[in-house]
Symmetry: C2
Subunit: 253 residues, 2 copies
């Protein structure tokens, strides 16, 4: 943890959600698993692999701050907590730090997964050779292995400038960046329906060509955990490390 944090410009943060959710700083690490969500399936695989340290990007206990008092009597929370404790598994969230690397580690991973490295211009902006919204969605579905994608806009509209915002940075911030960057399409993880999707719908209704592609939160950032596994390989030579995708929680019927 300290080694990773030492590579983040600005170093240790006073206020961060990146805390240990189980285990302790002093424990000996037998192996590392990186993932988006420390699901029970991921924890079980880590146990099988004899890896007692999970680095997850997202919360373990269903809320941003991983507050657990309100869950204390809940059998699902208790099951997960006991599974971690019984098997001596430490879980660290690495969210704020990986996003704060001099090059945002999640964005790096996603750009690579999409094969857009040569088109990457600056933070969050990708300038593709001209294509259509429909074709771009097909490309993204294939590269990210997403069976179905939600979108707003006209599938035949032209797409070149992409505003790429993995995760869920909030509707207001997404809209502010749309106003500032004026891209052809926003590609994001998720947004409450009453925020960005309505803005983009209104833009289309007034005649603008603006697309919005909602990848799903997990799919949009999973490549960041792959990036983190590579970081461990490079920086902790000899440490067993595995990237286990937690996959999408939501299926589509």
């Amino acid at each position: 943890m300290d080694l990773f944090i030492s590579q983040v410009p600005g170093g240790r943060k006073k206020e961060t959600v990146d805390t240990l959710k189980s285990g302790s700083r002093d424990q000996q690490v037998s192996g590392i698993v990186t993932t988006m969500f420390a699901t029970i399936t991921v924890i079980r695989k880590a146990i099988e692999l004899n890896a007692n340290f999970i680095i997850a990007h997202e919360p373990t206990f269903y809320n941003h701050l991983d507050e657990t008092e309100w869950l204390a009597e809940d059998p699902i929370y208790q099951f997960k907590r006991r599974l971690l404790e019984k098997n001596g598994i430490a879980v660290w969230r690495n969210h704020d730090y990986v996003h704060s690397l001099s090059k945002d580690g999640v964005l790096e991973g996603v750009i690579e997964q999409l094969g857009w490295g040569e088109y990457y211009q600056k933070k969050s902006i990708v300038m593709l050779p001209e294509t259509s919204l429909g074709e771009m969605i097909s490309h993204v579905k294939e590269k990210m292995n997403i069976p179905a994608i939600r979108y707003v806009g006209d599938l035949s509209q032209k797409v070149s400038k992409i505003l790429l915002l993995p995760g869920a940075i909030g509707g207001k911030r997404q809209i502010e960046l749309l106003m500032q960057e004026k891209p052809d399409v926003l590609v994001c993880g998720e947004s409450p329906e009453w925020e960005t999707p309505e803005y983009v719908r209104n833009a289309n209704e007034m005649g603008e060509k603006l697309g919005m592609v909602v990848l799903g939160h997990s799919a949009s950032e999973e490549a960041g955990s792959e990036y983190l596994a590579k970081w461990v390989k490079t920086n902790l030579i000899g440490m067993p490390v595995f990237h286990i995708p937690s996959g999408n929680s939501l299926s589509i019927k």
Copy 2:
């Protein structure tokens, strides 16, 4: 507005998002349109129908409080604002009040749309004759006219007790009600992916049979605006009133 509010137990609220978003209290009403979102399409239809009062359930300007200072220079915001002003259209949000009727108006509308009136037990709880999660989803898709639905769980699991929470009441509140009611399935409008979907995924991983069905925010509450149109018909005899569904902003490819 005053007539509706007079029927809400507790009456006028000090803190509410249910304010006029355009127009004034004094204007003469030529006709009323009810809808989920006052989209530009809905506004144009209202103008055609000579109805100068739109009652919307959700925000007009992409954030819960309809704050507009940050949008002042934006052409999409300006276009919508001008369209409303030029045509003298008043928009009132009726969200907190309709949910506060002695029987929540949105829930009433949704229960009727789903044909579940005889199975309705108490606020948010429906007890269906035993079916499977897959069959229940098919029923909901047909009744609500939703082309594809996101879900967590095993499609073959049995479903009888449903926790029905239209809209987006927040992951913590959804999970608290899951803990309290122990239903077979939660049917909701939306939830951030790192909250309720992860909780339900963990429940399934530990062997519980718990389903979650995400209708989409619009689909989950549109029937509430239909309910409101009926309310106007009953309470303002002779007033022209139209329910115009704003439909889902997000399509699926």
